[in-house]
Symmetry: C2
Subunit: 681 residues, 2 copies
């Protein structure tokens, strides 16, 4: 019997895990014994070099040990050959070859960790722990033995069990002939890509002869009604190698979701055309991103999709018509593990697809992805998350429970249905300020950092000009008009007489406020019309009413935090959103933007398979609230028509922002409410 | 509390199962409680009528009860409507509607049993218990509820759980849109075909709206090197609706297996051509059988294949070249659950395919099917089973253990490589007798029951004539020549002088024996040449040597039973086979023919899913013997060259059949052994 207390003490950094192991234990074995995350594709054969570590010798007072220079065994033949042929960085050792023979501190560099943290480049810096569904394994398979006959695949299964403790792995039929060939070419050795969608469902999705380091990429897709955005990520390193987006070609069948559902209703086979269009676009996008990243589309082994229910059904080739009316019956709501071939996507022949679960007939996998990314269920403060788009998805919750609904805001927030509206693009007015004394505006356009009052402004925008106003611009303009007293709480624009500025001009029976007049140089006239105000009021009322309905369900009158998600949410000024009454009153410093949280959720699900179980579990627990049939939604909608609100005090907001209270309805020209009377006059 | 001993006593026939159930229990519920096999597709809703039973009233002294006419409740509204609309046979009741209220005897007709026994029409009458992998279920699915949103599929899964206790059923992706449509058309009811390949792997393979009784067929295929034979069976009733066969079109690439392997070696992509050819032939055969049965190929939901390893690899699109040389590496050996689509078979869109396991690189799934059909592992007598074909598969065993090998007999037994040989077809000589005194032959040809010596013979064969000699004919001819003293133990044909018949004619340096001379009428001359004898000797030596090798392995010098399997085995006369020394000495009454046992095994596996587990288990336990590399095989082969054998006494045979022992080698004309001397002369 040996005295274990005399065994060498091994300390791994950065984890800090420590323990004694018998002298002669390999570093890889020690790491496994102590639960240290150290990668190995070849199972410790000195082939893959994934298990590299860096020993630290000398005095480690912090750890209470002194590591002698002979704490690890010398280079053996395998390590020497590896160093000679492929080269080891100075100080590095192969963990599967170097054995412990004295106390030592061993650093595991990030690239040797399976569960390394990767940082997403996005509005919010967020860490994702790598824990991919698809991994590589190098196997050495027993030779065929005619005295104990069994197949290539059966012998490979035994290798996976004995070399990696992987049980129950399956082989898609079409891979069988590839395995046969790979084992012939690789002299009974092969590298396998194994995808484990969930426990017990491991399957081989890629096969190469010998030890191979193939390109292994994944695509995270946020499939929106308007745009399709995707990130192409190396599934081994976690590095995002290409990002990009394309317009959703279904726009030609209908701008918004309901018009696409209508298209399917009115046109036999219309849904098939839309399915074809979006799948084609996906293939084009994958091709573009692969080209950007310098890989082939056949190097893409996994794809994760997040999308709203209508896009979900249209991508999957399901009939979207039931989603057009109560009870909004989904064909399937759970997360799906399918293949790229199922969706006619031209990726790796056995590429897998994960589709996040839908929350309800109106609340999609995009909202589920936002929930995964923002994780309201993990925090104490009551958090309201609004993903602003054509359809707003709204989540409200904290550690106790999470509620969800969607609300039909329409496209006004994206600049559609606005007289001078346009999509966010260079030349679009994106920020607006109105001097409360002079009632004069200044603005910024996309592509230029200067205010319009700057002397160099016109020079700098010479190439783009001023082309219109985008979603964030119209929100700021309306809010600023309200602060400057140009607009009353009911949403009526005052006359020049009432407001004291000639920028207020009569237009038919209502008024408009002029922001920019480019007519002298052949440019556009950008003004805010009474119709624009009404469109914004409808959109923001729907958004607010949805949020308020969730607050009712939760049993609260206030929220602690507001998160604005969506690409558009990133550009909304929290103060202006609140002046407009898009969101409930809340301390401004607690209103934040999450960027494209749905896209972030897709990326998390791509890189971390445990997160898939997390979002499935969360969606299961979320309380779904259906706005379309809830009578109180209508009440909340009407009360939210006023700017910021007819009944909610918004006292927090009023304490920091002046909200004058004129009423422009008594005078000459009417607004919506006065129209009837006027006609009778 | 009620006194259960006063509950009505229910006796089910034919099972004899009996027990008391509370008054008011439905017959279906009583059957389930007592473990009685009573079918129900609709789960007891009075829709499917599969649970019909026939009550017997009156005195049942055998069972010790008297059944009053009110022992079952009267027709209820459901049963009345069913009787009115679809008609119930006199005396029949719906088991799910009729409730027990007094002692009664209930007969379950065969068509109401799931596990009914079906009889295969074949050489051997054998019962197969129905226990199919694919079954029908009628489900009533909850309506979509927007307050508790979930998908059509998720609600269907709940229905399967609650209505049929079916858990973990999966839906192939492409079926999702069909389910959506079926539930729309069927107002939330549908009939599902569910295939359970093995426990925990149930999946939906067919969907129809409402209650539907679709055609549900299965195909059992014996894919031989020369012919493809298949039975098309109704998976609900067990009735075989069509049987047929086609030539394997791969014959154009090579007559026997090794020449096909060579074709693949010599021609780049040759294996792909052969795969294409056999799949095309399968599709044609399925089409023909479907037409015969009056169904569509899309009504075929399951297919079972048995075949030798080379055909296995060629059907599956695997490289057969490794099977051409030691170590005879298989790409996969285990049973396979794949889809018809994997094999490009045009059956139901989600038709499933089961492929029996291979035993070894030379011993195929056809041998496994023979083992399943003949079940040597279930009996005490030591049983030798030979499946005679181009390659003979040989099994030897009893309850203690089972051994298997294959032996390269070549095509002589099928009439190939024989001077007047032909395939078994009308006009071919299939039986031969030689008078031991006169040395005159008589024979029968396929298509005529008369001996050639019958006065009406020539009239009756007028249309076909005598065209040649088939496998069983040449075996009988050679054996009869041996009995009649025309052939010595070494296999030499004696001269006219030595044998005393002018039918022995010199041909070059050897002799031939004339069976039929049709030259005067322009017909063929059918004779047995010395070359024919040598070909048969090679084939029978290989067969015997394989069997003897297994006997060595088993540690025995004799067997208790011999079973001749294979379509050809059905036509071999046991006595002649033994005179030839094809099989070891054994009491003639214990030599039987099993017909196409491989085909029967395929049919068993198609209809009884438990049999699939049985054959997988058996194959796992079988001891595989590789003849190609076993030195004793060569020894046995040489000793078996003599007719019947050089060393084995065959004393049982000699006791009933005279085996004169002339030697024709001393005289003038030589045989193989004398050729050298003659040349020098």
């Amino acid at each position: 019997m040996t005295d274990a207390s005399q065994d060498p003490l091994v300390i791994f950094t950065p984890s800090g895990k420590r323990g004694r192991v018998p002298a002669g234990t390999s570093v890889l074995a020690a790491a496994r014994q102590l639960g240290v995350d150290l990668d190995s594709v070849c199972g410790g054969r000195g082939v893959c070099s994934k298990c590299q570590i860096q020993p630290s010798y000398g005095d480690h007072s912090k750890h209470g040990i002194t590591a002698k220079t002979d704490a690890l065994t010398d280079f053996n033949a395998v390590e020497e050959r590896y160093d000679r042929v492929r080269g080891l960085k100075t100080g590095r050792r192969l963990g599967c070859q170097a054995c412990v023979q004295g106390d030592v501190v061993l650093d595991v560099p990030a690239e040797s960790q399976v569960h390394k943290q990767v940082v997403r480049k996005a509005a919010t810096t967020r860490h994702i722990e790598m824990d991919t569904a698809t991994r590589l394994y190098y196997v050495e398979v027993a030779e065929a033995d005619m005295h104990d006959p069994s197949g290539d695949w059966e012998r490979t299964q035994i290798a996976l069990k004995t070399q990696f403790d992987l049980h129950g792995v399956t082989l898609p039929f079409a891979q069988l002939s590839l395995l046969q060939k790979a084992l012939q070419d690789g002299k009974n050795t092969a590298t396998l890509a194994i995808h484990t969608a969930r426990a017990g469902q491991a399957k081989v999705v890629g096969i190469w002869p010998s030890f191979t380091e193939p390109n292994l990429f994944g695509l995270a897709v946020d499939l929106g009604s308007t745009t399709i955005a995707a990130h192409l990520t190396n599934l081994v390193t976690g590095e995002v190698k290409a990002s990009g987006g394309v317009m959703n070609p279904q726009i030609r069948f209908g701008e918004d979701l309901m018009s696409r559902v209508s298209y399917a209703m009115m046109n036999e086979g219309g849904e098939k055309d839309m399915t074809l269009a979006v799948r084609d676009a996906m293939n084009g996008l994958a091709q573009d991103l692969a080209q950007q990243a310098g890989i082939e589309t056949s190097d893409i082994f996994e794809t994760v999709f997040v999308m709203n229910p209508v896009m979900h059904h249209l991508l999957l080739g399901l009939d979207p018509i039931p989603l057009g009316q109560a009870p909004f019956a989904l064909a399937t709501s759970n997360a799906l593990d399918i293949t790229a071939a199922d969706l006619d996507l031209n990726l790796a022949p056995h590429a897998q697809v994960y589709i996040l679960p839908l929350i309800a007939g109106h609340v999609g996998a995009d909202a589920a992805a936002v929930a995964l990314s923002e994780a309201p269920q993990k925090v104490d403060p009551l958090t309201l998350i609004v993903d602003v788009g054509t359809n707003a998805e709204i989540l409200l919750g904290n550690k106790t429970r999470v509620l969800a609904c969607s609300s039909p805001t329409g496209p006004a927030f994206e600049g559609a249905q606005i007289s001078s509206g346009q999509r966010a693009a260079p030349g679009a007015i994106e920020r607006v300020e109105i001097d409360p004394i002079t009632k004069e505006p200044r603005f910024k356009v996309i592509g230029c950092d200067l205010w319009s009052t700057d002397p160099d402004f016109s020079t700098q925008i010479a190439t783009t000009g001023v082309t219109g106003i985008c979603g964030s611009g119209i929100i700021e303009a309306v809010a600023e008009m309200r602060i400057a007293g140009l607009l009353d709480a009911g949403g009526l624009i005052g006359s020049a007489e009432q407001t004291g500025t000639t920028r207020s001009k009569p237009t038919g029976r209502t008024h408009s406020y002029l922001i920019f007049d480019g007519s002298e140089t052949g440019g556009p006239v950008v003004e805010v019309t009474q119709g624009d105000i009404r469109a914004i009021q409808l959109a923001k009322s729907a958004l607010y009413a949805g949020a308020r309905l969730l607050m009712d369900e939760f049993g609260t009158d206030s929220v602690d935090r507001v998160v604005l998600a969506g690409a558009f949410g990133a550009h909304i000024s929290p103060k202006h959103a609140m002046v407009l009454g898009m969101i409930p009153d809340c301390a401004l410093e607690h209103v934040t933007s999450a960027g494209n949280a749905a896209g972030t959720g897709a990326q998390i699900a791509l890189l971390n398979v445990a997160a898939r179980r997390e979002v499935e579990d969360l969606v299961h627990k979320i309380t779904k609230v259906e706005t379309a049939i809830e009578p109180r939604f209508q009440e909340h909608f009407v009360a939210a028509n006023a700017i910021p609100h007819a009944t909610a005090p918004f006292s927090g907001l009023r304490a920091i922002v002046p909200l004058p209270d004129p009423s422009f309805n008594s005078g000459g020209l009417d607004g919506a409410r006065g129209r009837g009377r006027r006609r009778r006059g």
